[in-house]
């Protein structure tokens, strides 16, 4: 058996490690190990490649690796936890650029057929788009660029023309690969296209865009693999390409949006409510609520009239039991005027057989509010309205409330942004630590309960 076969067998192993790693990455319990496994796959692939007969010059390679490794490691260490997404965007851009370069370099290789040229073109195009697209995404996320979507009249037409131009250049390039003029134009146009692709998208949607660009960089690697005839590049690239698209779709679903809506609507710009209330409303889906609850060790449930309307008491009890089984302490904070009659909440909670021991009065929960990991406000509104504390002009001013806004995280379960009995807006919904879980309370809690089950 010759070296090439050995290398390829190792490549098979490496591909298996990537596959297995990806699989493990998609489940919380195994994610970290998955990442390790996948990096192991990468490591052996790199090492074995260095034995390739074709590689004769090592000094430059060592230099490149050392430089790149140092930069990458430093960046990964230094970056602030909150800045990770933009860092990923940057890395991704570099990956795309690398594919572009590999494709380009392949031009100088031996045995360049029509087919190879096509794949070279593809790897340059996709690599270029990924590169500039990722850079723009990085800029928008990090605040270097304005997060607002940039839209201008004729954008559609411009992009169509751009695409056509790329296509034409591609054909010309394939016909005459030695003419580097086309090559440069293609590189330039693909850079431009990457920019055009991302600017109309709002900063809030950048994670989706990055995920999509990540998928592209996989495809670029795949195309480069065809160009230099390397199976591992093809396998790993197409794995990333396909799984990236699925991930993108999943992310869109979690935001309750379609991919085309994300890409073409100019949505997703950070919004600010009018009036005194400041901040952004941050919706959350049941699945994510579950992940936070799952990690919580003390939970406060604040029921209100909406729990009664939804008749959600039974599922609330179920949630309580699941949280307790999960090791969390659960108490209810019952505001004296919650609901529409005195003792309204008591009637319902007794019906659901919630033990009296966990029903606490407002004055009992407020002093320890800071210690609750999560406060779940279930269809309550006025009784948790911080305007009663903060806003002298509010008709609620002076009324004691349950200060859920002081809890580490607050989930507010209601159907809309509508106000409660008193008809006043609620600044709680806009607080940094608040997450809105929209929908009928019974439905929402059932969903969370189901997440616990899975």
């Amino acid at each position: 058996m010759n070296v090439s076969i050995i290398i390829n067998i190792i490549y098979i192993l490496s591909a298996s490690l990537f596959i297995y790693g990806l699989k493990e990455l998609s489940s919380p319990a195994t994610a970290r190990r998955g990442n390790l496994i996948s990096s192991l796959g990468m490591f052996i692939a790199i090492v074995v490649t260095l034995f390739d007969r074709g590689i004769v010059e090592y000094q430059w390679i060592i230099l490149g690796i050392a430089l790149g490794g140092a930069i990458g490691a430093a960046a990964a260490r230094i970056v602030a936890m909150t800045a990770m997404p933009e860092m990923v965007a940057l890395f991704n851009g570099f990956g795309g650029l690398a594919s572009l370069l590999v494709g380009w370099a392949a031009l100088f290789g031996t045995g360049v057929t029509n087919f190879t040229i096509t794949t070279i073109f593809l790897s340059i195009l996709i690599g270029g788009v990924t590169f500039t697209g990722s850079l723009i995404a990085w800029g928008k996320l990090s605040g270097t660029l304005n997060g607002q979507p940039i839209l201008f009249t004729g954008q559609q037409i411009f992009n169509t023309v751009l695409m056509a131009a790329i296509l034409v250049c591609g054909v010309l390039f394939t016909l005459d690969p030695s003419n580097s003029y086309y090559l440069y134009v293609i590189i330039g146009l693909s850079f431009l296209f990457g920019v055009m692709f991302v600017i109309p998208i709002g900063g809030g949607d950048m994670p989706v865009v990055i995920s999509l660009l990540n998928s592209y960089s996989g495809l670029a690697a795949c195309a480069a693999g065809f160009a230099i005839n390397n199976i591992l590049l093809i396998v790993a690239g197409s794995l990333v390409g396909a799984s990236g698209i699925i991930l993108t779709k999943i992310m869109c679903k979690a935001m309750n949006r379609s991919l085309s809506n994300v890409l073409f609507s100019g949505f997703g710009s950070p919004t600010t409510a009018k009036g005194l209330i400041e901040g952004t409303v941050k919706p959350i889906v049941a699945e994510d609520a579950y992940y936070i609850l799952e990690a919580a060790s003390s939970v406060l449930i604040v029921p209100g009239y909406g729990m009664a309307v939804a008749q959600a008491q039974h599922v609330v009890k179920e949630l309580q039991e699941l949280l307790e089984k999960n090791g969390a302490e659960v108490v209810y904070g019952v505001h004296p005027v919650a609901g529409r009659m005195p003792g309204h909440m008591n009637v319902l909670l007794a019906e659901a057989d919630v033990s009296y021991d966990v029903l606490l009065e407002m004055d009992a929960v407020n002093p320890r509010m800071e210690n609750f990991d999560v406060a779940i406000v279930i269809g309550a509104n006025d009784v948790v309205n911080p305007a009663a504390r903060e806003d002298e002009s509010s008709p609620l001013y002076g009324r004691p409330i349950i200060n859920t806004d002081f809890a580490r995280t607050v989930f507010v379960l209601k159907r809309s942004m509508a106000s409660g009995f008193a008809g006043v807006d609620n600044p709680l919904f806009f607080k940094e630590n608040a997450r809105m879980l929209f929908g009928d309370a019974k439905e929402s809690i059932s969903q969370v309960v189901r997440e616990f089950a899975n």
Binding site: G64, G72, A221
Partner: protein, 97 residues
């Protein structure tokens, strides 16, 4: 014939990629993205070959640049992913203690 094999492999890998990611909790979206981004740095392999093959100076220059960028992607990607997941792990462990 080779092209047939490659095509087969491509198709299988794409199917596999689709199947692998079934249901990912939102907390893992970013790490997963970052982790698979690191894998896409596999283009480094290609870069190595280009850089080391001594085909032409241009190819070597391009190759070395590609190696550098790809390495940033690979090393940075894996490390960042690990950091993210590390946080996640710790939070869980805290609880169980």
């Amino acid at each position: 014939m080779e092209i047939v094999f490659l095509a087969f492999i491509l198709i299988l890998a794409i199917f596999l990629g689709f199947e692998l990611i079934n249901k990912v909790p939102a907390t893992l979206h970013t790490p997963l993205m970052s982790g698979s981004n690191a894998i896409s740095g596999i283009t480094l392999i290609g870069a190595l070959v280009s850089a080391g093959a001594e085909q032409s100076q241009m190819a070597t220059i391009l190759g070395v640049a590609a190696v550098t960028f790809a390495t940033i992607n690979v090393i940075g990607g894996y490390l960042v992913t690990d950091r993210m997941l590390g946080m996640f792990k710790k939070k869980k462990r805290e609880l169980s203690e």
